[in-house]
Amino acid sequence: MTDVIDRLVGIAPGDPLDALRDQRPNARANAQASFEALFGVPDDATEPENVTRLERLALGYWTVALSQSPTARFYGGLLAAEDSAALAALDAALPCAVTSGPYGDYPDGPLTVENVAGLVWEPSAALTAALGARLAAALAHTHLLVYRPRDSSADALQRLLDAGWTTTGIVTLSQLVAFLSFQLRVVAGLTVLKGELA
C-alpha cells in the first residue's frame, strides 16, 4: 500500500523529504501501519467486530474536517466511496460544528483561570436521523476529542456505552481520532518543510 503521509504531502521516491523521513524508519513504517490497522480492509472482507468500516471512515473524515486539515479531501474521498450520503450528511453538519481550539476547562483549582469557553457541539436531529444515534454519539465524542480533550470525562464515555459502543469499540474510535490528530499534523509540518527545502 502507498505510504499515506507521502501521498498527502506529495513526496516521491528520491525526494529530499523521502531521505529525511527514512532517518526515522520505524516512525515512518508504523505511522503507515497505524493507518492500515485503523482503515485497512481485512483480507476476508469481514466486518470488524466493534467499529464498522463506515463508522471508521465517517469518524475519520469528521476528525480531519473539524481540524480543518487539507487531508479532509483524501478522507472525504474514502468515505464517499463507501457511502456518499454519509459524506453529504457530515458536510451539511460541518459549518455549525467547525471552530478553533484547543479549548475547555481544567479541574477546580489554580488552572481554572486558564479555562477557555467554546462550542459544545451536539448532533442535530437531522444528522442523527441520517446516520443513527450510535454514530451520532461518536461524532459528538470526536468533536470533544478534537477541540476540547481536557473536557473529557467518565460521563462522556458512559454516553458512548449507552449509545451501544463496546469498551473495545471506544478504544478503537479513540485511537482513530487521536491517530489522525497526529497524522494531520505530521502532514502539515512536512508540507511546510517541503516548501522550505525547495
Partner: protein
Amino acid sequence: MSEQIVSEEVAAEHVVRHTFEAPNAFTQAELGWEAWLEPLPLEDLTERHYDGLVDKGRANSPYFRLLVRDPEILGARTRTDNDIFYNEKGGLTRALRELSAASASRTNGCIFCASVHSRFASHHSKRRDDVQRLLDEGTAAEQDDPQWRAVIDASVALTAIPNDFGPDHIRALREAGLDDVAIIDAINGAAFFNWANRLMLSLGEPTPPKE
C-alpha cells in the same frame, strides 16, 4: 458459570468512577493514572496482545492494558512513539524532543502527559527551573535559549486548530541551529503528543503523586 459470564459482560458496559481527587495543577512530580474503562484482565492476554504491548512490562499499566483491547493499533502506536523519541541517530537532542512533548501537552491541557515529559525534559537538560516556568506560566513564558524558544513555538503552532505552523517556524528552528532531521523530530514529537494527549485525557485521569 454462564451467569458469571453474563455479569462480566454487563460490568464491561459501565465506566469505572474514581473517588480520589485528581491533580489540578501542572507538576513535574510522578503521577499515576487510572482508567475510566475496564482494562483487559491480565489473565486474558494472549500472544497477540503481548505483541501489541511491545514491552511485556507494560501489562502492569492500566493505560496499556486498556489500549491493548485493540492490539494492532497499540503496537503501531508504540513503535511510532519509540522511534520518534528514542532513535539516537542525529536530529533533536532528547531534551528538546521531550520539550516538544511537554509543550503540546501544556497546550492541550494534559496534566498527566505534561508531568511525565516535563520531568524527562528536566532530566535530560538539567534545567528544571526553565521547564517549571513552562508549566507554571505557560508556553509563552520567557525562555532564553533560542532552540527552546523555536521548539516550543513550533509545537504550540502544530497543536493549534486550525494549524498555525508556517515557514516562519521552520526558519526559526534553522536559525537556532537545528538541521532538517531535528526539524522532523520536532514536528513528529509535537504531532505525536496530539495523539497521546487525546488518549490520556479521554480514557482516564491522573492520580495524586505518591507521598
